[in-house]
Symmetry: D3
Subunit: 275 residues, 6 copies
C-alpha cells in the first residue's frame, strides 16, 4: 500500500509561464520513457518479484514509489508553465506575431481538455500506454529494460534542459537528471550482480546445447555493398559473455528452402492456385 | 535499399499444425519485443547514424536486415501451423472436447481476417505499434535498448520453446534463440566500446556540474516498513561508473513545499476557489 | 435502422476561415468526449436495452441519433474553417509572420490526408477510439457515464466558444452548449428515476451483506502530512445513499501481510531465489 | 511525494490457482475502469486542483493513493492465481479436456511476456491507456467522471465475484466492492456540495444567455416509428436543475440548410466539381 | 441530420445462443473492415464532398446511413447470441468439457464490461479506431478505399457464414453478404465513371511531366533468386491506364549515393563521430 | 531473407533544412498510407501466398522490398530536413517571429526523442500501427487494398510536393510519385487478371444463391430529403460485374421487427425490466 505526503520532494517552480515548454515537458510525464513509464514499470516488476528475492523487490518498490513523486513534480511544473495563459480573444492576440507563434504551437488539449493542467500523454499528445513497459519475471532482462529507460529518459531530460533558459525549470530538470544518473548506476550495479550468478546471456537457465550454438557467434554481413561492420570489436575476439569467439561471415548462411504453403480449406475462400 | 532472396535463411516447418501454438508464436512476430520491433528499431537507428560512425551504421543495418528475414520465417511458420484448420461445421466439431478447446482458443482473426496466415500483431491480437521502438540518436542509450530487446526476446522465445514438443518448431526456435544469444553478446560488446569513450552515465557529453550532484548517489528508502534494499550492493561502495560512492538514506530528502497553483483565467470555467 | 436528411439540423457557417480553430474544433468531433463518443455510446447502450425498458431504449436511440447529426454539423464547420487555405508556396508564405504562425500550427493531416476536411480524430490528432465509450447493461451506471460525458463535453465546447470571435462559429457552439445543458438535465432526471428504484449505490441488486460493510463508510487518510480531507462533508454524517454514516480514519487500516509469491515453474526461466 | 508500505492493505490470497480467473481479474487492473484508471484519474485531478480548494485536493490525493494500493493487491492476486501453472508439455496436457480448456483460454502473455505475473492490460489484453482518464480542472464535471468510474468498476467487480467460488478471491473482491460503495457515496456527496454552489448544469460559470436557451429544454423525437421516450419524466415537468421546464417535440426542429462546401484549392488535387 | 426507425431493416435472430460465435461476429461490428468502419468512412467522405458533386454526396450518405443500421443488426445479433449465458458457478461448469471450452473461449468483456451485449471492438477485443478509415477529398482514391472495404468485409462475412450452422445467423449474414455484393458493384461503377473523366492514375490533375516518368513503368526485380514476377501481365505490354508500356528490369536501378548525415548540434547530446 | 545495399535507390537531399516540412514528410513514412504501411502490407501478403501462385508471391515480395527502400529514403530526407536545427536558447530565438513560428510548429519528438531523426510515426505523431494493413489470403481483395493504398499515397505525396519549393525534396517526391503511378498501373493490371478468373464480386468462390440475391442489386434511398443518388449510373443499367441490373428504391425495404432482447441472468446485475 502507498502513502502520500503533500510536499513535493523537490521544488517545481518556473520563473515564468511558457506554454510551449509545457508541451515539451509532457514527454517526461507521459512519453515512452516518461515518469509514468518508469513508475509503472518498476512497480509491476516489484509486485512480480518472488520469494527469496526480497532485496530486489524492495529496491524496485522504493524506486517505483520515488518515480510516482516525479510525475507529481512534473504535473505541478506543467500547471505552472500554463499559468496565466488566456484563451480569450485569440483572434486579436494572433495579430501579435510572438503571441501568435505560442498560441498556434501550444497543445490545444492543455486548454480545452485539461483546463491548463498536465495530461497523461507525451509531447505530441499520444496518451500514455501500458505497452511502453515490461515486467517479465526475469530480473536481469528487466533491469536491462530499466537501464535503457533511464538512459533514454536522461537523454530526453537533458535535451529539454538545453531548450530552456528558465532557472526554475532548469533547477527541477537538474534534479531529475541527477536521479537518472543515480538510477543508471543503480541498474548497472544490480545487473552486474545478477550477471555474476546467471552469466551475461539471459535467461541463463536455458541449456545452451538446445540452441543452435554453431550460429550463435557469427555476424552475417547482410550488405551487398559494405563491410564496415567487420571492423568492429564484435566481429572477432572473445565475446563479453566469455562463451565463445565472435566470427564474421561475409556471406549470409542460407539453410532454408523457398517456402511453399499449402492452400487453405475452400471454406476460407482464399485465392485458388493459378497453376 | 533492400533486396530479397526467396529462400528462407533457416527452415520453418512444424511437424504438424497447431493453431494454439500459432497464436502464441504471434508474440515473436508482432509483440513488444517481436521481430517487427527489432527489425524496425535497428533500421531506424541505422538510418539515423551520422557521419563518422559508419561502423555502427553498417552494424545496425546488417542486423536489422537479418531481423526482417526472421519475421518472414515466423510468418511462414504461423501459416504452416494453421494448415489444414477447417472452419466449417464448428457446431459439430465443438462436440469433441479436444477440438472444442482448440477452436475456442485459437485466434479468430487468423481465420476471419487473415485466411490462415500470420498477423502483424502479438499473441493476444494487439497490432504492432511504432511506440514499441526507439531511435534516439544517442547510440549508447540505443544499444542498451537493443540489449534489453534481445534479452526480453530470448526469454519469450525460450518460453515458447518450452511449450511445444514439435521438433520442427523447436528447430526454428533454436535458431532464433541462438541469434538472440549472439545479439546479446554483440550489443554488450558495442556498449562496452562506447562506455569506454563516453563513460557509463549516458549521455556522457552533459556537464555533470549542471545536475544536482549532491543527490546523484543516494538510494532513498521510500518504504515505511522495510529496509531490505539497504542490503544491496547499490547502497554502498563505489559506483559502476566510478563517479562517486553510493549512499543509502533511510528517510527521503524533502526539499519542496506543498504546491499551490494559481487559479486559471475565468474563460476556462474551471472550479473557483472555495475559500 | 436510420434515415438521413440532407439538411443540417442547425447552421454551421463561420464568418471566415480559420485553420487553427479547425484544429481545435476537432476535439468536439473525435475527442474522448466529442460527438462521435456520445453518439456511439448512446447507440450501443440503446441497442443493449432489454425487454421491459423500452422507454430508456427509445430515449437512448433518440439522443444518440441526434448526436450523429452533431458530428455532421461539426464536420461541415471544419470543412468551412479550412476553406480557401492554400498549401502552395509555403516557403514564401512563411515570410509573413501571421501566416507563418497559422501554417506552422495547423493540423498537417487536414491538408495532406483529408483534403481540407474533418478527421475522425481529436485536436492533437489521436484517432477516435472505441475505448472512449461504455455500455454496461446497467443503466444507472451508464446514465452516470452519460452525465459525465455531457459535463465534460459542455466544458470543452464552452472553452472553444471563449477562444473565438467568429459569430458563425459562436452561433453553432451556442446550439451545442444548449443541447449539452438539456442532456445534463435529461440524464440527471433519468438517474433520479433509477436511483429511486435501485438506490444510489449501483448495482443495487447485489446483496450488501456480501461486501465488507465494516469498511464501506470510511475515508482513510493516506497523507503523511495533511488532514484537509477530514473537513469535508464526506467525512462525517449520513451518506447520500442513506445506507450508513461516513467515518474518517486518520490512519489507514492495514489487514494484509507482506506478500510472498511462490517461484514459478523452471520452464519459465524467471529469476531464481537468491536466498 | 509518495511512500510505500510492504504490507498489502487487505489480503489477496486465492485458495487455489485459476489461470482463467487471472485473465478476467485483469479487467480490474488495466481495464477502462480498472484500478490503474481510478488511481491515475484521481491523482491527475488532485495535482491540478488550484489554490483555495485544498479540501478537494487532499481528498483526491487520499483516494488516488488508496487506489495505487488496490493495483498492488490485484497484481498480487493475479500472480497467485497463476501459481503453479506449468507451460511444459502442452501437447500432452491438451489430451485432458479440462486442462485443454484452461490452456487454450488462458492469456498467453501471462506466460510468455510476464512470467506468470499481472500485466498493465485488461481482460482481453489491451494495454492500459491514458485516454481512459479525465482531469478537466472543473471539479463538478470530474467528480461526475469519478462517480461513473466507481459505478462501472463496482459493476465489473461484482460480475467477477459472481463468477468465482474461490473464498479467497471472493474475500478480496468483497473489499474492493465495499470501497467502491464508499467511493460512490463519497463522490455523490462531493457532487452535491458543488452543485449547491454552481448549480447542476456544469460549468455553472457560463452565462446561460449566451447559449440557445430556446432549444435547451426539448427532447426531439428522432424516431420515425416510436414515441416511447415521450412517456419519461424527462419529457415534461420541471428540470432537476430548476432552470426551466422539459418539453417534448414530436418532430425535430430543422433550422439548417443543405450544406454546400466550396471546392478546395487545386493544389490539393481533390475531385473537381462534375457540374 | 439523422432519423431512426425502431425496426431493424432485416431480422437478426439466431436459433440458439452461442457465445463463441458472438465473439467472432464482433469482427463485423468493430473490426478494421466492420460496419463501424464503412458507416463512418462513407459518412465522413459524404460530409466532405464539395459543391458540384451532389450525386456522390447523396450516394455516400445513403450508403453510410444504411451501414449504421447494419451495426444495429449485428449488435442485436450479438446480444442474442449471448442470451442465457450464465456466469455463475464457473468452477462447477468447467467440469463439463463442452461448457469449459465455451467459457474459456468466450470474450470476457462480453460478460464483465458489457453485460452480455456487443462491444465497439473486433473479434480479439481491439477497440474500433478512427485510423481504420479514410476520407481524402479525392473521390476516385476514396471509392477505391470503399471497394477494398467491401471486398474485405464480404470475405470476412463469408468466412463467418461458413463457421456457423445456425439458420438465423446464416440468414442475417446472407443479407450482409448480398449488400456487400451490391456495394462492390456500386463502387466499381462509380470508379469507372470517375476514371473516365480523370484517368486511372489518381489524382489525375497532377501534371505527369513533374514526376519521374522514366521510372514510372518499370517493375524492378528486387529478388536475388527469382524472376517469377517477370512472367506477369504487369511486366510487359500496355498499361491499364494507357499511359505507356510496362517494363521489367532484372536489376534495380540505383541512382543514390551512400547517405552521410551531418552531426546534429551538440545540445542534442547524440553520439559524436568516432572518426 | 533480405539483403541491404548501402546506396539509396534514389537521392534524398533537400537544398536546405526545414523542420516543418520534416514534420509533414512523416506522413509518408509512418502514416496510414505511408511507406511502412505498403512495405509491411505487401510483405505480409507475399508471405501468405500459397502454392501455385508463385507469380503473385514474387511480385508482392519485389514491391514490398522496394518499399522498404522508400522508408530509408524518406528517413534520410527527414534527417537532413532537420539538419542544423538547434534547440538551444529557444527563449531568445522566439523573439524572431519567423523562427518562433518554426520552433512552435516543429514536432517536439524530432528533437527530444529522436535527436533530429525520423520517427516511425505520422505527421501528427501517431505511431505506425499494424492495423493499417491487411493481408487476407484473398488476392483480389488484397490487390484492391493495394490499389487503394497507392491511390491515397500518391495523393498525399502530391500534396506535399505542392507545399515545398525545395528542388531536392521535389526531386525525391517526383520519384515516389512516379513509383506510385507505376504501382497503380500494376495493381490495376493484376486485379484485371484475377477478375477475369473469379469475377468482379470477391470472393468469387461463394455460391451466389446462398446470399439474398433479391436485395443484391438495389440502392436504397436513405434520405428523407433528396434523391440525387438516383441519377447516378449505379442506380440503373447493367452492373459492372455483369451479374444483374441495378435498381433504385425510393423507400428502404424493412423486413425486421422492433427487436426485443431477453433480460440477462441476474448474476450480471444489469438493469431489471421496469414493466
Amino acid at each position: 500500500m502507498f502513502l502520500h505526503d503533500k510536499h513535493l520532494q523537490f521544488e517545481a517552480k518556473p520563473v515564468k509561464p511558457d506554454p510551449l515548454m509545457a508541451k515539451r515537458v509532457q514527454e517526461l510525464i507521459g512519453g515512452q520513457y516518461g515518469e509514468m513509464s518508469v513508475a509503472m514499470q518498476y512497480l509491476f516488476q516489484g509486485w512480480g518479484v518472488r520469494k527469496g528475492n526480497e532485496q530486489y523487490k524492495d529496491l524496485l518498490l522504493d524506486v517505483g514509489t520515488e518515480e510516482l513523486g516525479h510525475i507529481e513534480m512534473l504535473a505541478t511544473m506543467v500547471g505552472r508553465l500554463l499559468d496565466g495563459t488566456s484563451i480569450e480573444h485569440q483572434e486579436a492576440a494572433m495579430k501579435d506575431p510572438a503571441t501568435a507563434a505560442i498560441l498556434s504551437g501550444m497543445n490545444p488539449q492543455h486548454a480545452i481538455v485539461a483546463g491548463m493542467n498536465a495530461r497523461p500523454a507525451d509531447s505530441v499528445g499520444n496518451p500514455w500506454n501500458g505497452s511502453y513497459i515490461i515486467s517479465s519475471g526475469n530480473l536481469l532482462a528487466d533491469f536491462r529494460a530499466n537501464l535503457n529507460a533511464e538512459s533514454q529518459g536522461r537523454t530526453q531530460a537533458i535535451r529539454i534542459y538545453e531548450m530552456t533558459d528558465d532557472p526554475g525549470l532548469k533547477d527541477m530538470l537538474a534534479v531529475l537528471i541527477a536521479r537518472d544518473s543515480y538510477h543508471q548506476n543503480l541498474w548497472l550495479q544490480a545487473i552486474a550482480e545478477l550477471e555474476e550468478v546467471e552469466g551475461k546471456i539471459t535467461p541463463g537457465s536455458f541449456d545452451r546445447k538446445l540452441e543452435r550454438e554453431d550460429i550463435a557467434f557469427s555476424l552475417y554481413n547482410h550488405s551487398a555493398s559494405s563491410e564496415e561492420s567487420a571492423k568492429g570489436s564484435w566481429a572477432k575476439g572473445k565475446t563479453p559473455a566469455g562463451d565463445g569467439k565472435f566470427k564474421y561471415e561475409s556471406k549470409v548462411l542460407v539453410e532454408g528452402a523457398v517456402p511453399e504453403l499449402e492452400n487453405p480449406h475452400p471454406s476460407l475462400h482464399s485465392t485458388k492456385p493459378k497453376k
